[in-house]
């Protein structure tokens, strides 16, 4: 009885597996032994890249190649692992897709490049450099490293990234920072919106600039900040009662506010040409 009820499910699973891997897809798994704080680089023009913390001294790369128009090039030395999706003549955005799932030691330094596939990185403690064109870029639960992000039009989401040295450059992609702090948190956007939700901690320098994109920062009432904000053509709004301070940037016609709050431990600079700037007090 049991065997009969499971049979159709087993057949379905086998059929789906066949569909998945019968149409030219190929799965590869690569294992690398590495030393302390290895450097891992994944270069994948088309397709998602997911990187998570694994065990020390081991890098595991699982890849699904969507066709024989793409192959994996790999190279490794004692402490460096490079994996590249090598597009062969005749490949395109469909046949060139490779899906990666990568496990690296938590302290690994990581470089990821993907043009349009989402990039997801979590629970790492090393330096992270990632870039993409339309890729969504997500960095979660990381700490103590440099996080450098370059994107043209993909959204960027950093969440719970602590004690980081963070630099983000974006053209049209929206940038969302939630629970992000460190000695330097810098976002340079063109038309993308910048949203920050956090406490401006670590006595850091928080520099958010845009050309036309709006900038919105939400911080708790206890935030200790020294703020300067200016939008040449957009509106500015501020919920905090700031102690006045000398500002060297009076510009006729521009909208601006500046001042300190609490002990002014962190520097916050919000600058835009025509985007709206809002500094909001968190309600809770």
């Amino acid at each position: 009885m049991i065997a009969v009820s499971w049979a159709p499910k087993a057949v379905t699973v086998l059929a789906l597996t066949g569909l998945a891997f019968g149409a030219g897809e190929m799965r590869k798994e690569l294992h690398f032994k590495v030393g302390k704080r290895p450097m891992v680089s994944i270069n994948n023009p088309y397709g998602p890249v997911v990187v998570k913390a694994g065990v020390p001294h081991q890098v595991v790369v699982s890849a699904i190649l969507h066709s024989d128009k793409v192959e994996l090039d790999q190279s490794s030395s004692r402490n460096r692992v490079d994996v590249i999706s090598h597009l062969l003549p005749g490949s395109d955005q469909t046949t060139g897709v490779v899906e990666y799932e990568v496990q690296v030691p938590p302290e690994a330094d990581l470089t990821v490049h993907s043009e349009n596939g989402p990039i997801h990185i979590e629970k790492l403690q090393g330096d992270i450099a990632t870039e993409g064109s339309d890729s969504s870029i997500e960095v979660l639960d990381c700490a103590n490293g440099h996080v450098h992000v370059k994107t043209l039009n993909g959204p960027v989401n950093l969440s719970n990234v602590r004690n980081g040295h963070i630099e983000i450059v974006s053209m049209g992609g929206d940038v969302l920072l939630s629970g992000v702090d460190g000695p330097l948190v810098s976002v340079n956007s063109n038309s993308g919106k910048i949203q920050y939700a956090g406490n401006f901690g670590d006595e850091g320098e928080y520099d958010f600039t845009s050309h036309t994109g709006d900038i919105e920062a939400v911080a708790p009432a206890y935030a200790s900040i020294d703020v300067m904000a200016r939008s040449n053509q957009g509106r500015v709004e501020n919920d905090f009662s700031l102690e006045p301070k000398h500002t060297p940037f009076y510009v006729k016609g521009a909208n601006a506010f500046a001042g300190t709050h609490n002990k002014a431990a962190s520097s916050v600079k919000l600058f835009s040409f025509s985007g709206r700037i809002q500094l909001k007090k968190r309600q809770n």
Binding site: D73, S75, D82, D92, H113, K150, L152, T209, V251
Partner: protein, 208 residues
């Protein structure tokens, strides 16, 4: 031998270190053979450049005077606030990199895989839409993208326009208020965006 391995021994190959294995890879891989041919061309051109005369110091003085008269550079001022120090020296990096990239784009145009689309040389413009002028460097960049990544040409054009608009606004702000360090920083940021745009396009092109 794959492309990655070939790139590692490329310096040896450039110095004439050919083996049967290397030649076999070159015969089977158009990307690597084009790359090698381009590098050989650059090497030949570089030798001719070395013979050219160094510009006169007077030329540099004239350029400096012109930049000062336009208010784009000034005499050294007292040290700024600590937060600004990082920004003030940083502008050299994107500008130098942007120049290097532009030269690179001019010199390096290999064909690559990953593009099945036919090259598109002209951008389609909707009726009534205005076309913003681009510099010759930008046009060269867009032509490269059109040849190698036609599907992305319109997007790159839009991004170039956005970056140039930012640069234009920031330049106007600096001219209006030459002492405004924040406007100067916005100009640096605008150039950083444009540098990124060039970087990403060139990086991707060389990858395929």
């Amino acid at each position: 031998m794959n492309c990655l391995e070939f790139e590692r021994i490329l310096p040896e190959v450039l110095e004439g270190g050919h083996t049967t294995e290397r030649q076999a890879h070159l015969n089977s891989c158009p990307a690597c053979s084009t790359l090698l041919a381009d590098l050989n061309d650059i090497s030949v051109q570089a030798k001719t450049l070395a013979d050219s005369a160094e510009p006169s110091p007077m030329l540099w003085n004239a350029i400096e005077a012109q930049l000062r008269s336009e208010g784009l550079i000034r005499r050294p001022t007292p040290p700024p606030a600590p937060w600004f120090r990082r920004w003030q020296t940083a502008w050299l990096v994107p500008v130098a990199a942007a120049l290097a990239i532009m030269v690179g784009i001019k010199l390096y145009h290999p064909a690559g895989a990953g593009e099945n689309e036919q090259p598109v040389r002209h951008i389609a413009v909707a009726p009534g839409e205005t076309v913003r002028a681009v510099s010759s460097e930008d046009q060269q960049f867009l032509n490269t993208v059109a040849t190698r990544r036609p599907a992305r040409q319109a997007k790159y054009r839009a991004d170039i326009d956005d970056a140039n608009a930012f640069i234009h606004d920031a330049e106007q702000a600096v001219k209006s208020n030459p002492g405004d360090v924040y406007a100067q920083q916005m100009l640096i940021n605008a150039y950083e965006q444009k540098q990124m745009l060039y970087d990403l396009a060139v990086d991707r092109s060389s990858l395929q």
